[in-house]
Amino acid sequence: MNVPENLRYAESHEWILVEGDTGTVGITDHAQAELTDIVFAEPPPVGKKLVAGEVAAVVESVKAASDIYSPVSGEVIGRNEAVEADPALLNTDPFGTGWIYKIRLSNPGEVEALKDPAAYRAQIGA
């Protein structure tokens, strides 16, 4: 299972790439493998204010719907329309073109509470 070193991870299987006060959020390789064929994705609207742990997006496989929780608080400043058009990107490239939304962090300190790659690897037994 791929767990990139440059990301932080939520226990609920989202990743965040933090660059300055901006974060890019997606779901992990482990999450997409568990969900299998993802057929629907709905990133949050730009401008939406999210609190860490709040439902930010929904992705659905053939079999089930899953909530995606925002790993940090802030305002949505970008949404990946490519995954809306082609949800399979979440399966094929979860850390790249399958990103879901970008957020301006209102409390960058929250990132410290997220897991580093070693801790997330331990969680999923990778």
């Binding site: 299998t36 064929d37 057929v39 629907f40 659905e60 053939v62 079999k63 719907a65």
Partner: protein
């Protein structure tokens, strides 16, 4: 509970889920991939969890005809029919396949979740000259489905697969019938439990792809085949479910007949309708509210994203006046409503 193929499922990469108390594979390579295999080549499903009852004796045909909706006496030896077990209100207890193995010898294949209830219900209505045996634990079963199923049949049994549906081939304690739950050509093969693993292996070697419950559900829903417990219930009659063709109201009597006759005379109030979403929407799932003209009228009984059609599809009991193809409805998903339309069954039509 586990079928004789549990280890084979793990070996094939099956993802195991609970289904009516059974540890069954929901998928192996992926639901979309398995669905496509059945539509384009062939897949094999473990259906060993389903129940097998043997009914014999000089009174067998008449006894089945007094209990089930279809006409067992009219069934030719070597043929099979879909039938229903109803309560006194005409509601569905279970749907099943009746095989006629001989003049006085029948095999009933029932839903896994209903084995104990069906057996108790039948035994409580036992009649003279009838022998009943619940042999569910002694048999495994496979369903091989898809356009390549005929070639697999030939490899397995050294003869051509009957072109007709519902033909039964009995080979000792093996029963092979040209039935299925996918809309494709194919057969279901019941064998002694000890032979299930080798039968599975032979199907894979002959080119069938392992398929799980997930694909089984999307395939049957595209064909609008009802699933008991979801689309069929003790509170809905076969007339409401669109299964009237499997109900012989010309028979002297069967459990539930009076209620069906009364319902037919009064007008069937609701119809199980096929719905197809007509705008971009999330996948439809069971128990989503269905709206007509700004009012919630019912909920979906089954729902999925159709892999073949690319749209959300569903079944729902609609009031009869709204049940005609072309009727516009809305399906509510997480508080938002999406446009859908009643369509003629089946939703999926094989391209020829």
């Amino acid at each position: 509970m586990r079928t004789p193929l549990f280890d084979a499922h793990l070996a094939a990469g099956g993802r195991i889920v609970d289904f009516a108390g059974w540890e069954m594979p929901v998928q192996y390579s992926g639901i979309l991939d398995e669905h496509r295999a059945v539509r384009e080549s062939a897949g094999v499903f473990d259906v060993s969890h389903m129940g097998e009852f043997f009914v014999g004796g000089p009174g067998a045909a008449a006894w089945l005809d007094s209990l089930l909706t279809n006409n067992a006496a009219a069934l030719a030896i070597g043929a099979a029919q879909y039938s229903l077990m109803l309560n006194e209100r005409g509601g569905v207890i279970d749907d099943l396949i009746v095989y006629r193995l001989g003049a006085d010898h029948f095999l009933l294949v029932v839903n896994a979740s209903m084995i104990e209830e069906d057996a108790a219900w039948l035994c409580a209505r036992m009649a003279g000259g009838v022998e009943f045996e619940n042999a569910s634990a002694e048999f495994g079963a496979l369903a091989v489905q898809g356009p390549a199923a005929g070639r697999i049949f030939e490899k397995l049994f050294g003869r051509e697969m009957p072109a007709e549906r519902n033909r039964v081939l009995q080979l000792g304690e093996n029963f092979v019938v040209t039935t299925g739950y996918t809309g494709e050509a194919g057969f279901e093969w019941i064998m002694p439990a000890g032979e299930a693993a080798s039968a599975w292996r032979r199907c894979l070697d002959a080119g069938a792809k392992p398929c799980g419950l997930g694909a089984r559900d999307t395939l049957r829903l595209e064909m609008c085949y009802p699933l008991n417990g979801s689309d069929l219930s003790p509170d809905r009659t076969p007339l409401e479910a669109g299964l009237g063709v499997f109900v012989d109201l010309g028979k002297p009597d069967f459990v539930g007949k009076a209620a069906l006759v009364a319902q037919k005379a009064a007008g069937v109030p609701t119809r199980l309708c096929a719905l197809r979403v007509t705008e971009k929407a999330p996948p439809i799932r069971p128990h989503y509210p269905v709206w007509i003209g700004g009012n919630p009228v019912t909920e979906t009984t089954s729902g999925a994203l159709s892999p073949s059609l690319g749209d959300g599809i569903a079944l729902a009991y609609l009031p009869a006046e709204f049940s005609k193809p072309g009727q516009e409805v809305e399906i509510e998903v997480r508080g938002r409503r999406f446009r859908a339309c009643v369509r003629k069954k089946p939703l999926y039509q094989k391209q020829t």
